[in-house]
């Protein structure tokens, strides 16, 4: 999956002067594949591309040699943090206390530093020591071939679980499935969707506007716990399908069962390297025993990020699928 370099160029605009210049001038091939930008106090400037880490030199050269890398200092981090928070950390305290800020374009900036606890739990992060900018990768059309496998003959959506290791593109795939279902791109069959976007990754909400294309019939509960969001969506948004990212907690499963009882269909993602590994997770056992999911999509990196490894049916049998 490749990014539009324009998205990357817009993203580096938020960085402080020197970092911006250095990262702006890296070779195009890396701009297209970039996944993360790592800024750590007193450490080399790094990027992640295609699952590998690279160092950046002062002349914007990309290599794996830490000795020639550009070293980030405290003022780079401070000024970048100021620009990211719009010079207003006080306005982003709720997000900061969760450990990240979503910025324009739907990119997420993870924050490392001194965590301050108060009466209500984590209140703030001070003395920021590192920033991890995760580049939002919106790949429109990545799920087009997949949609026919997710809708049954009576035009009902089949409950689907996307299984993948980290950084294999499961959120990107989920987002595109949501877009396709919401817009009715397959046989004009559209659905009302509620997205429970606990980590603001799916819709990439920024000031109340989704930064990613999530379709015209999609409602978003942003920053909401999955367990709470599912119940809220059932009560108030009357969705046909609920979409959630990274399920696994006991409470998530209880809420999912509640949604299924209400006749709502589900699409979810989960961390896992294989179908068997996920099958054996204690919290998931109930859902597997009840054969809740009719489709399991397994992602891998065999042909690059977002490769669909296999599709399984309700009983776990592999369905023939044309791999990309």
């Amino acid at each position: 999956m490749e990014n539009n370099p324009g998205i990357y160029n817009n993203l580096v605009e938020i960085l402080s002067g020197e970092l911006k210049t250095i990262l702006f001038n890296i070779p195009m091939e890396y701009k297209k594949k970039i996944e993360e930008i790592r800024i750590r106090n007193g450490k080399p400037l790094m990027i992640s591309c295609g699952g590998k880490e690279y160092m950046i030199t002062k002349r914007s050269e990309v290599n794996m040699d830490a000795s020639s890398a550009f070293i980030v200092n405290e003022s780079h981090i401070q000024s970048t943090f100021q620009i990211i928070t719009n010079y207003s950390p006080y306005a982003y305290l709720e997000e900061i206390s969760k450990g990240y800020i979503t910025i324009g374009g739907g990119h997420r900036v993870g924050i490392g530093g001194k965590v301050i606890y108060g009466a209500k739990g984590i209140e703030n992060i001070k003395n920021i020591s590192s920033l991890n900018i995760r580049v939002a990768r919106e790949v429109l059309g990545v799920s087009n071939k997949l949609i026919p496998y997710l809708i049954d003959s009576s035009k009902l959506f089949i409950n689907t679980l996307i299984i993948s290791a980290p950084q294999c593109g499961k959120t990107t795939l989920l987002r595109d499935i949501v877009r396709n279902l919401s817009n009715g791109n397959y046989r004009n069959q559209s659905y009302k969707l509620s997205v429970i976007d606990e980590r603001s990754e799916l819709a990439g909400m920024y000031k109340g506007t989704p930064q990613n294309e999530i379709g015209i019939r999609t409602d978003v509960l942003d920053g909401c716990l999955k367990s709470d969001g599912i119940i809220m969506a059932i009560r108030s948004l009357s969705p046909d399908i609920i979409a959630v990212d990274e399920i696994g907690g006991e409470k998530d499963i209880e809420s999912i069962q509640e949604a299924l009882r209400a006749g709502i269909r589900l699409i979810a993602t989960i961390h896992g390297d294989s179908f068997r590994e996920v099958n054996e997770k204690p919290s998931m056992r109930r859902l597997f025993e009840d054969k809740v999911f009719g489709r399991y999509i397994l992602l891998d990196r065999s042909k690059g990020v977002g490769t669909i490894g296999e599709i399984r049916d309700r009983s776990g049998n592999i369905i023939e699928f044309e791999k990309r």
């Binding site: 402080s16 002067g17 003022s75 401070q78 000024s79 100021q82 620009i83 719009n86 010079y87 207003s88 950390p89 006080y90 306005a91 305290l93 209140e123 703030n124």
Partner: protein, 174 residues
């Protein structure tokens, strides 16, 4: 010849009085502008502490709600902050120093108090920001008292001095 003398004397009187008035007026202006500045800072406090409005938006709102004679300063800071992507808002505060001094007739001490707000504005949580606003407003209150006293003492004095000097020159010339 007599008419020319009267005309000259009149010109001297008007000029001298105008200089006296204008100098005396700077004390009144400083007091008024400090008062408006205090009002603007209170608006900014409300935006940040109670509204959690992001700083650029908060500064724009101060420009809209405050007295234009002073509130333009906040918009200048906002524009500088956004267009130059400053590392800290304090650098944007520094760019309005000349205007504070020459257009608003503020003293070095007044400007320093305003800049002390710029050093910490937006950098901490709302509780901290609230404390900072209280300190700055209390310091400005002190400057206001001093400016009022100075205005009462000096504004009248310089106005009278202008008139008296004018009259003195006319008497000497005649």
């Amino acid at each position: 010849m007599g008419l020319l003398k009267i005309l000259s004397a009149f010109c001297i009187f008007i000029t001298s009085s105008a200089i006296g008035f204008s100098y005396g007026q700077t004390f009144s202006l400083r007091f008024e502008n400090l008062l408006y500045l205090e009002h603007c800072i209170k608006i900014l406090e409300t935006e940040i502490v109670y509204g959690a409005t992001p700083l650029p938006e908060a500064l724009a709102n101060v420009k809209k709600k405050g007295k234009p004679r002073v509130s333009f300063i906040f918009d200048d800071i906002r524009r500088d902050l956004i267009s130059n992507k400053r590392e800290a808002i304090y650098h944007s505060f520094l760019t309005v120093e000349e205007k504070l001094h020459h257009r608003l007739h503020l003293k070095k001490e007044d400007i320093e108090i305003f800049f002390s707000l710029g050093r910490v504005l937006g950098s901490s949580d709302r509780e901290d920001q609230s404390k900072i606003f209280k300190i700055v407003l209390a310091q400005l209150e002190g400057q206001l008292d001093e400016a009022k006293l100075e205005k009462n003492q000096n504004a009248k004095l310089y106005r009278s001095l202008g008139i008296i000097t004018g009259l003195g020159i006319i008497i000497l010339l005649i």
